[in-house]
């Protein structure tokens, strides 16, 4: 595990603005995430949640503002700095994005072998350990298309963990799953949260957000509209927009 300096915020975002053409997606986001914190981001689709997440590891560029991960500023056009930053930030996607031409084991070992130049025996042991951790020890030699969605997503989590990141970004990671497979993925995320992993997750699973997170952020029209502890925020929303949003999510 990496050594975490508790004085430096895990993620520091200041005045972040992003637009796609004339369409403003992020309208000045200020956000600070402490090491070990579990933050859930909720909000309507189109409110900029995923875009914010994707800015943090440089998958999207932003026009104005500043962003730093573990005290390191994000600099576009500097591949070495970007590589440094991305080693700190793991990401798990809605659509899993496992590499279909590689076995589960190779999916997990590829990035550490290329980026960290870990030797192959240590890699193999680490991959086995991570697969065991997500409950898929026997799937080392399977190909992604032989796995269920829930299993694929758990492999994706193991793949992100193999880089030993300080922060994990989860972008609606259960939205593409059949309802009966959601639980197995969330259980893994919950165990990570309990172990002190810094987590920033965009989610539609309100019960999960309430149970696992230290803080919930409600985004609306590209801004952090309201935030607070999960109990307070869900029980006593302060703004009409959040009240309306929460009402719409209760079926």
């Amino acid at each position: 595990m990496s050594i975490i300096d508790s004085r430096v915020p895990a993620i520091h975002v200041e005045g972040l603005r992003k637009s796609f053409g004339a369409n403003e997606v992020l309208n000045g986001i200020d956000l600070q995430v402490e090491p070990g914190e579990v933050v859930a981001i909720i909000g309507k689709s189109g409110s900029g949640k995923s875009t914010l997440l994707r800015c943090i590891n440089g998958l999207e560029t932003f026009q104005r503002g500043a962003l730093a991960v573990m005290g390191r500023p994000l600099v576009y056009g500097d591949p070495a700095a970007m590589r440094q930053l991305r080693q700190q930030v793991g990401m798990i996607f809605q659509s899993f994005n496992l590499f279909p031409h590689l076995t589960v084991g190779k999916n997990i070992m590829l990035a550490p072998s290329l980026v960290k130049k870990t030797e192959s025996q240590a890699l193999q042991a680490e991959a086995q350990r991570l697969l065991h951790r997500v409950g898929l020890a026997e799937k080392f030699d399977a190909f992604p298309d032989q796995l269920s969605g829930g299993q694929q997503q758990r492999v994706a989590i193991a793949r992100a963990l193999a880089m030993d990141p300080s922060i994990l970004l989860c972008d609606e990671i259960t939205s593409a799953l059949d309802p009966e497979l959601v639980g197995e993925v969330l259980a893994v995320v919950e165990s990570l949260a309990n172990e002190g992993m810094t987590l920033l997750m965009v989610t539609h699973e309100m019960n999960f957000a309430r149970k696992v997170s230290n803080r919930v952020i409600f985004m609306h029209e590209g801004r952090v509209h309201e935030q607070g502890g999960p109990e307070a925020l869900f029980a006593d929303p302060q703004t009409p927009q959040l009240r309306q949003f929460l009402a719409s999510t209760r079926h």
């Binding site: 659509s95 994005n97 279909p100 031409h101 980026v115 190909f143």
Partner: protein
């Protein structure tokens, strides 16, 4: 008057067909190499370079192969190169196939889902690592069938080299017709030989496609 048997006709056509095969292979391999360089430029180089490659592809796709052969044959002579029909045909067909192959392969790279690039990026892979380990291996699987399919087009395309005097299968057919006055028989044989060359390639393309789509 000399009598030509069917065997005489066929034997001479088969001799010329060798040159069709050789020209096809040169154009395919040469075009593949040039096409690969174009592809790399189009995927990784500066915007100006990318547009240059796109323009190159458009020029070769938007003009008849026949014109390209003429221009290579007469144009190279004009700028002072001593051109034989053989080099002109090889150069023109190589450039022609490079443009098509670059375009086909570019499409195959585009067909690799965006999520694959993003996953590779989020794992801190460099651009060349993303291409080498994630994108190319998947694009190659997509590319095999259309690439082999293009080879069939190319084999038939070599027939046009006959108009600048390169003696391959079609040109030999014309010459034998002039000697035998049996155009229908001769051209039937010519067509059969083309078919015998192309059909196995098509079959192979189909079997490759089936095999590669069973498993990712």
């Amino acid at each position: 008057m000399v009598e030509f048997s069917l065997w005489d006709i066929l034997r001479n056509l088969l001799l010329a067909a060798q040159w069709t095969v050789v020209l096809s292979l040169i154009a395919f391999i040469g075009g593949g190499l040039v096409g690969l360089a174009l592809l790399v430029a189009r995927t990784t180089a500066s915007r100006a370079m990318q547009q240059g490659v796109a323009g190159y592809v458009q020029v070769f796709q938007g003009t008849p192969l026949l014109m390209q052969l003429f221009l290579a044959y007469f144009g190279m002579a004009m700028v002072g190169f001593e051109t034989s029909a053989w080099t002109a045909a090889a150069v023109a067909l190589t450039l022609y196939s490079s443009a098509f192959l670059a375009e086909i392969w570019h499409g195959c790279i585009k067909a690799v889902p965006k999520g694959q690039w993003e996953a590779a990026q989020s794992l801190a892979l460099t651009l060349s690592e993303q291409l080498l380990h994630i994108v190319f291996p998947q694009a190659v699987r997509i590319a095999v069938a259309p690439t082999v399919g293009f080879l069939v087009q190319l084999v038939k395309g070599t027939a046009l080299a006959s108009v600048i005097g390169f003696v391959e299968l079609t040109k030999a057919g014309t010459m034998i017709t002039n000697a035998t006055f049996r155009p229908f028989v001769v051209y039937s044989c010519v067509a059969l030989i083309y078919f015998a060359l192309c059909y196995p390639i098509s079959l192979y393309a189909r079997s490759l496609e089936n095999r590669l789509h069973v498993h990712h």
